[in-house]
Amino acid sequence: MIRDITIGQYYPANSIIHRLDPRVKLMATVVFIVSVFLIHDLVGFLIATAALGACIWLSKVPVRYMLKGLKVIFIILIFTVLLNMMFTPGREIFRFYFIRVTWEGVILAGKTTMRLVYLIVGSTIMTLTTTPNHLTDGLEKALSPLKKLRFPVHELSMTMSIALRFIPILLEETDKIMKAQQARCADFESGNLIHRVKNLIPVLVPLFISAIRRANDLAMAMEARCYHGGAGRTKMKPLIYNRRDKIGYAVVIAYLILWIVLICVF
C-alpha cells in the first residue's frame, strides 16, 4: 500500500548515530564514499567493511532496512555484473559464441558490485538516521560559505525541505484519491500499459489540482508569517557541535588518515 512507501525513509531509533550532528554524518558519508573508490585490495575491503559494519551496528537500524535501498539498483547491478564479465579482456574462462567470460572480468564485476552496494548502503545509513529536515539544515550550514559567492543557499535548502515535507502529504493524497475512485469502481490493476496510463487520469487530475492548491496555501501562510528569505533569519534549533560530534569528526579523520597511510604504504 502507498502509505508503506517511505521516502526520506527516516527510521526512528535512539542511537548515537541518530543523535550525531548532520554535518558530521554528511562528512562521514563523503569520506566513506571516497574510500570505497580507493579500495584495491583485500585490506582496504576489510577496513571499509569494518567501518560500515560498525556504523550499522551503532545505528540500531535493522539490516533489512539498509538493504531495502538496494532493490532500486538491482537491475543496474545485474547489468554491471554481466557487462563487466563479458567485455573485459584477459584470461578466458569459457566462451559461448561471441560472449567471452574472463577472470579479470569476474574480479572487476565483483569489485564494481561491492562498490555500488557499499555506496548505497553507506548513504542509506545517513538517510535512515537523519530526518529530512535535519539533513537540509546540515546541508544549509555546510554550504553556507557559498553564500559569499551569492549562491542562494538558504532558498535552496528551504525549497528542499518543503519538497521533502510534501512527499508524504502528496502520497497520502494519492492514496485517498485512488481509494475514492476505486470506490467508484475505477480499475488500476488490469489492462495493457496504455489502458493503465489512461486509467490514472482520474487520479492525476485531482492530485495536480490539490498540489497547486496546497502550494498556494503554503505560500500564503508563509507570507502571513512574514517570511522574506534567509537574511537575518535565526533558527529555533541551531546546529551546535557537542562532544560526541567532535569525537565523530575525530573518528572520521582517523579513518581518512588510515586510508592515506594505506595508499602510501602499498
Partner: protein
C-alpha cells in the same frame, strides 16, 4: 441481513516501526434499511472501518459478509461489492476530474460496464436527487460552488445505485443551509428508496436528528451501540472518550433537576418540546 462483521482486526504498517492497531475485534450486524450514525473521536478507526465495508482495505484478521457471502473468499468480485456498497469519502469534491459535471457522475456507472445511455440516465437521476439543476450539468465542476461540488461528488456515488450508502462526514465545512440540504436529501433517499445509510459525523446534533442507531467507537473498538436515546443517556461516558451528547440533552438534564418528573432521555429539539409540554400536561393532573 445486509452486512455482518465478525472479529475484525486491522493493523497498519504491519511489519515496520510504525505498526499501529487501528481496529480491534469489531463485531457488528448491519441490517437492510437501517440509518446508522457512526461517531468517535479523531483516530478512533471510523474511516478505517468503513473502508473495509467495500473492500478498499483488507482486514488483517476477521471476516465480513455481505448478504451472507464472505467478501474475502476467492473469486468474490470487489467491483460487484463496490457497486452495492457506495462510499463517499471526506471532502469528495476534490476527487472530481472530468470536464463536465455530468461526465464525472457517469464515471462510476461507466466502470460498472453499463452502456452510455444508461449511464447518462442514472447520472441525470442522481444529479436531480442531490438537487443540481439541468443547466449546471454541462459546466466544469470547478465552476460550481463548494456546496454544489460536494453534491455533485455525492451524485457520482449515487449514480451507481448502491444498496448501502456510507458517507464520511458529508457536511464538514459546509454552511448550515448546505448541511441541512445534504442531510435532508440523504434522509429522503433512505425513507423513499429504503437504502441502508451509514453516516460518519462529528456533529452530535446531526446524528441525533437523523439516525435510528448509533455506533460509538473508541480506540479501534465499538464502545457503544444503540438508539440515540440509549447512547446519549450515557453522556458522561461519551465525554470520557472525547465525545458528547447533543446540547439539548444536557439542557433537559439540567431542567430535570429543577423540575422533577421531567423526561431527560431526549436527543432532539422536537423531543424536548414534547417532553416539556408533556410535563406541563402531567402537572395539571398533579
Amino acid at each position: 441481513m445486509s452486512i455482518r462483521i465478525e472479529h475484525l482486526n486491522y493493523i497498519y504498517s504491519m511489519d515496520s516501526a510504525f505498526r499501529k492497531q487501528a481496529l480491534r475485534d469489531i463485531c457488528l450486524d448491519i441490517d437492510d434499511g437501517e440509518f446508522i450514525g457512526l461517531i468517535g473521536h479523531t483516530g478512533s478507526g471510523k474511516s478505517t472501518l468503513i473502508q473495509h465495508l467495500n473492500g478498499l482495505i483488507r482486514a488483517t484478521d476477521g471476516k465480513i459478509y455481505y448478504n451472507g457471502e464472505d467478501i474475502y473468499q476467492e473469486g468474490y468480485s470487489m467491483t460487484k461489492l463496490r457497486s452495492h456498497v457506495g462510499l463517499v469519502f471526506q471532502y469528495p469534491e476534490y476527487q472530481l476530474f472530468e470536464t463536465t459535471v455530468l461526465k464525472d457522475v457517469c464515471f462510476g456507472p461507466g466502470n460498472l460496464g453499463l452502456d452510455a445511455e444508461t449511464c447518462m440516465e442514472r447520472a441525470k437521476k442522481a444529479l436531480s436527487i442531490v438537487g443540481i439543476k439541468e443547466k449546471d450539468h454541462n459546466k466544469s465542476p470547478f465552476e460550481l460552488s463548494g456546496g454544489q461540488r460536494r453534491r455533485a461528488a455525492i451524485a457520482g456515488v449515487l449514480a451507481m445505485e448502491p444498496d448501502v450508502l456510507i458517507l464520511d462526514e458529508p457536511t464538514a465545512g459546509l454552511d448550515p443551509r448546505g448541511r441541512n440540504d445534504i442531510l435532508d436529501q440523504i434522509a429522503d433517499l433512505h425513507s423513499r428508496m429504503g437504502i441502508t445509510v451509514i453516516l460518519v459525523s462529528h456533529s452530535m446534533e446531526d446524528v441525533a436528528n437523523y439516525v435510528d442507531r448509533i455506533i460509538a467507537m473508541n480506540r479501534g473498538s465499538v464502545y457503544m451501540d444503540g438508539t440515540p436515546a440509549e447512547v446519549f443517556e450515557r453522556y458522561a461516558e461519551l465525554e470520557k472518550i472525547g465525545l458528547a451528547a447533543p446540547q439539548v440533552t444536557y439542557f433537559m438534564h439540567d431542567l430535570q433537576r429543577s423540575f422533577p418528573g421531567m423526561r431527560a432521555d431526549v436527543t432532539t429539539v422536537r423531543e424536548a418540546k414534547d417532553a416539556i409540554l408533556g410535563w406541563f400536561e402531567g402537572g395539571e393532573k398533579r
